[in-house]
Amino acid sequence: MLYINCPHCGMRSQNEFSYGGDATVKRPVLNKEVSDQEWDDFVYNRKSLRGKHLELWQHISGCRQWIKVERDTATHEIFRTFKADEEVA
């Protein structure tokens, strides 16, 4: 069971969180023409990386905030966590 550092609450066990997918995907802005390819990339196409992956988790049984977690998909090592509005350098 992962041990995730919620930037709002501190170290919490994985069972307080739910997984939310790739955090690098950006939703196309509203009311703008979007090509089929662009939309498919947003809705469906994911890389399924091995290694460092920036992903979303929601602290559903805690502060209910969505957070970003930088995790190694192979070793489960967690490097850094960020608030939803924090820029990841």
């Binding site: 041990y3 939310g20 009311n31 559903i60 209910r64 509005d85």
Partner: protein, 998 residues
């Protein structure tokens, strides 16, 4: 029966307390503090079971978790449990156990014929033989194999025992209470660290209980007792026996199974049977010790052949002689320790040492005691079927290839020592890459991956002095990092005998002309010849060899067999052992009871049951409940002998003719507040929301980004910046997360807050032509006329002094209202509605009637919004705005979603107007078409229309728009039904929706 093999003045058992127990129907006696194994051995019982494949007689091989044979079926307090190791099961008064894997009895086992057919049962036999003919597998092969195999029978009864889960945090978790565990725990505890020390056995101390050493002028055992006693008094220390740490998971999470009650005749009241601990540790100290490994020789599975360390443990801990004419077969000094203990108790052992001329303090002591030692000697084969009677022994050449001077000597047990294998399971599970240590011919932990360190024998350190020094230091340093205390501890003086190097010898060659089975894996009957076959057939990876031969599989997971298997593979392949590598260590280290894993989450406890504030009223009024997500909802209210069908029909009919009331508390409710609330709704829902006035409700549909309908419901504008959103019961949690996702990540600029208010409001739907008259009487001070409170209107009211929210919305398609009050007043509201409604012939209705009403109106619900349909499919395209953008809109342009013959909701009526159509039935054009019959659609919901008094169903049908009036067949192979049907409009009743607006 007397305990003929029990000796006086030795052992840690309580001779004051004699216990009786039964094994295979026969009564024996043992003492408190015995295991089932030690008590049986005290009575001279060596035959405990039959082997898995050949049904050869099997006895005891070890004295603890490493035991591969002695698995029994246990009977305790009216319950039975399979797969119990006799070496781990503590004795209690009245214990009953039986042998497994034998029929009709352990003494006469028909399956033993496999033993004489063993030439036909080599590795891969099952894979090769039971392939043809294919049809034989289910009918003949599998049932036969199942009957013949197995390690016991699981109970089919409900398990009345309680199992608990516990979550714990600590600074240092220490696995194993041998010398390194005790020393590190003590040092860390003195520094004030929060320590958990776990021991899988009943007694603390590990090897100190049996070894002849001295620590600080005390015996090892007394020193251990002193340390444990002091640790137990310290508030920052938790000391647990009978507790096995069996898994090391991510981020220093370890799981431990504590056997709370297995050693008692019955579980005490309010106590669990087992407790599973989830422990998050800052640092983990693995002091799990080592397991002696066997030397492989002919018939080395005969009862009476056992590990030399086990023989010593039976003697030192339980006062039991495993034999009176022991033969000790060793390649290192450990065998001598066992021989010395025998000698001290008046037994004359013979030691066969594979080494030519070993010299050490221990050997000197053995010589001084006059023990018969034969160097460069090996056991060629054990003789005897159900028990060792003698052994063929031989001199072995220096290159260990040639046997000479074979002779037969009498003995009643053979104690084997092939040196020690560190128990590296936990370290390996943590991600530690193990390395091979030449000096000990075994793997030890390498670079730490998580915050773990391995000490003592588990790390390949077999000197007590070095173990204690490194362990005191590690405990002290790791705790210092955390607590910043540094209490110095004087390291006690250690007296131990120096030992000499072991012999790198593990397998006795076969003498000419003999074909003895030489077993590597005792639990799975894997012999040297099986591994040879696997390699000959081309299996190279050790993981493949394992799976093909089953070497190292099953409940003992190869604790005694893995390394010898690797030695064999490396020898045949002419590789070094590290190049062969070892198979992956996976949790659990020892078998864990399913009950312990499940814990309290059984039956209704697997999820919390949520009940509405009106639940007690429903119960009192004969409600029959149904699970709706985690909620319990009344399905119908039973009157007299009514069944579900009759009751729901009556309730639905009463709504259509008079007035009914339904508990809708379970609907998800979300408060949406903030200046940008309308903008959020406008982006989340498919229809327009910016112009909804205060005091008005609107129905909305929300999509996922892929265009599929996610949920539907009404949202009401309570005040300028305050909306009350409702969701379906099932999707309430998901919708909240969905809104939070967009507010926090996608559109953080929107100034809106959302919070779940599902449990804050109790809700009652009042529906039927007389609902307005009832509402007026409930709220005499409010104007609830069609003008005062029009369709989709909202107002607040005073319900006999309680503030209420009144919504004019309808799910039933009738003139209807929903009244919400704060949850604490829910029951008050409900009783008032029933009381005042009496003159209008009010009746409560349940979910079944609710479904009937919505189905015949063509209102969609969960069975249509099933995660596969878009708005068009549900005839909701009128709610999809063409002007504004919203979540999922772009996906609605996908070619499949705009196809001419796109699926769409329709109504379905059986031609005979009699036969109800099972939900899930497929709609097909031709009921006689060959399979697979092309499916045009499926029945999503069925009811008995109370309006027309005939069956009516909803279906999602390909090209549904152009199918009205067509005749098709509804086929349900599951219910074996073929029903001719006609396709009609999904709006079966009141298609213009006049009633809700009346």
């Amino acid at each position: 029966m007397t305990q003929a093999f029990r000796i006086d003045n030795e052992g840690l058992i309580n001779r004051e307390k004699k216990l009786s127990f039964k094994f295979n129907g026969k009564t024996y006696f043992g003492y408190e503090g015995d295991t089932l194994a030690s008590a049986l051995l005290a009575n001279g019982v060596h035959l405990v079971g039959r082997s898995f494949k050949y049904h050869r007689p099997r006895g005891f091989f070890g004295a603890g978790v490493d035991e591969p044979y002695a698995i029994v079926q246990l009977y305790r307090n009216g319950e039975t449990e399979p797969n119990i190791k006799a070496t781990e099961q503590e004795l209690f008064e009245g214990l009953e156990a039986k042998s497994v894997n034998c029929w009709p009895s352990v003494n006469f086992d028909i399956g033993a014929i496999n033993n004489f057919l063993k030439i036909f049962l080599p590795a891969g036999f099952y894979y090769k033989t039971f392939m043809w003919p294919k049809s034989f597998w289910y009918r003949i092969y599998e049932p036969f194999i199942r009957k013949a195999a197995g390690l016991g029978v699981a109970s089919t009864k409900h398990d009345n025992e309680r199992y608990e889960h516990k979550y714990e945090y600590c600074d240092l978790l220490i696995a194993g209470s041998g010398p390194s565990g005790l020393a590190s725990a003590y040092a860390a505890a003195k520094n004030g660290a929060k320590v958990i020390l776990a021991e899988d056995k009943a007694r603390f101390g590990g090897s100190l209980l049996t070894s002849d050493v001295n620590i600080g002028n005390q015996s090892g055992k007394d020193w251990a007792e002193g340390i444990i006693a002091e640790l137990k008094t310290m508030p920052n220390v938790v000391v647990k026996n009978r507790s096995q740490i069996f898994g090391y998971y991510d981020h220093n999470m370890l799981v431990m199974s504590e056997k709370v009650s297995d050693h008692l005749p019955a579980t005490k009241k309010y106590h669990p049977n087992k407790r599973l601990w989830y422990i998050r540790a800052k640092e983990v100290l693995i002091s799990s010790g080592s397991i002696e490994r066997p030397i492989v020789f002919g018939n080395n599975d005969t009862p009476g052949v056992m590990l030399s360390s086990a023989a010593k443990e039976y003697l030192k801990v339980y006062g039991v002689l495993v034999g009176k004419k022991p033969l000790v077969f060793t390649n290192n000094d450990s065998g001598y320790e066992t021989a010395i203990e025998f000698k001290k108790h008046g037994i004359d052992p013979i030691v066969l040492d594979t080494r030519k001329n070993p010299v050490s303090e221990i050997i000197d002591e053995a010589k001084n005691l006059g023990i018969n030692i034969r160097n460069s000697y090996v056991v060629v084969a054990a003789k005897g079927y159900k028990k060792v009677k003698s052994a063929d022994i031989a001199n072995i050449s220096e290159d260990k290839k040639v046997l000479s001077k074979i002779e037969n000597i009498q003995c009643d047990c053979i104690c084997v020592s092939g040196f020690w294998t560190p128990t590296i399971h936990l370290a390996s599970q943590s991600g530690n890459k193990t390395k091979f240590k030449e000096e000990i011919d075994a793997f030890v932990p390498g670079q730490s991956k998580q915050n773990e360190i391995t000490l003592g024998a588990a790390n390949g350190v077999f000197s007590l002095d070095e173990t204690l020094k490194t362990s005191f230091k590690a405990g002290s340093e790791l705790s210092k990092k955390i607590t910043e205390n540094d209490n110095e501890i004087a390291i006690p003086n250690v007296v131990e005998k120096k030992s000499s190097k072991h012999d790198k010898f593990w397998c006795v060659p076969l003498p000419k002309g003999k074909n003895y089975k030489r077993f590597l894996d005792f639990q799975n009957d894997v012999a040297v010849s099986d591994v040879e076959i696997a390699l000959r057939e081309g299996y190279r990876s050790i993981e493949h060899v394992k799976r093909y031969t089953t070497l190292g599989m099953a409940t003992d997971q190869g604790k005694t067999s893995n390394l010898n298997g690797l030695q064999l593979v490396s020898e045949i392949e002419n590789k070094v052992v590290p190049a062969v590598g070892h198979t992956t260590f996976r949790p659990p280290y020892t078998p864990v009871s399913i009950g312990a894993i499940v814990g309290r989450e059984v039956g209704k406890h697997s999820k919390p049951t949520r009940k509405s504030p009106m639940h007690e009223w429903h119960k009192k009024n004969n409600a029959v409940f149904v699970d709706a997500g985690v909620w319990l909802r009344p399905r119908y209210y039973k009157k007299g002998n009514e069944n579900l069908f009759e009751a729901s029909k009556r309730e639905a009919k009463n709504v259509r003719t008079n007035v009914g009331v339904c508990d809708v508390t379970t609907l998800g409710k979300i408060d949406v507040k903030g200046p940008d609330a309308a903008e959020l709704l406008n982006r989340v829902y498919t229809n327009a929301w910016l112009k909804l006035p205060v005091g008005k409700a609107r129905y909305g549909v929300m999509l996922r980004e892929d265009g599929i309908v996610m949920d539907d419901g009404t949202t009401t504008r309570i005040s300028e910046n305050h909306y009350h959103m409702t969701t379906t019961t099932a999707q309430a949690a998901n919708v909240l997360s969905h809104l939070e996702y967009y507010l926090q990540l996608v559109w953080p600029e929107l100034n809106v807050n959302v919070v779940s208010t599902t449990e804050q409001w109790a809700g009652a739907a009042i529906a039927g032509p007389k609902s307005r008259d009832l509402l007026q009487k409930l709220f005499p001070n409010s104007d609830v006329s069609n003008e005062g409170l029009p369709f989709m209107g909202y107002m607040e009211g005073d319900l006999f002094g309680v503030k209420a929210r009144i919504f004019r919305i309808s799910f039933s398609g009738e003139l209807a209202y929903e009244v919400n009050v704060e949850s604490d007043y829910g029951n008050f509201m409900w009783e008032k509605i029933i009381e005042v409604g009496e003159e209008f012939n009010i009746q409560p209705y349940g979910t079944e009637a609710l479904s009937t009403l919505r189905i015949e109106m063509g209102h969609v619900a969960g069975s249509e919004l099933d995660g596969r349909t878009i708005p068009y499919d549900n005839a909701l395209e009128g709610l999809v705005s063409k002007k504004k953008d919203f979540i999922g809109k772009r996906s609605l342009q996908r070619s499949a979603f705009i196809a001419e013959d796109r699926q769409r909701i329709v109504g379905v009526v059986p031609l005979d107007k009699q036969t109800s159509i099972p939900e899930g039935s497929h709609l097909v054009k031709d009921d006689k078409a060959p399979l697979p019959n092309p499916k045009l659609g499926h029945i999503s919901a069925s009811c008995w229309s109370v309006e027309y008094d005939n069956p009516f169903s909803l279906a999602i049908l390909k090209d549904g728009k152009n199918m009205i009036g067509q005749k098709l067949f509804a086929m349900s192979p599951l219910k074996n039904k073929v029903i001719p049907v006609e396709i009609v409009s999904s709006h079966y009743v009141d298609p213009k929706g006049e009633r809700v607006r009346s």
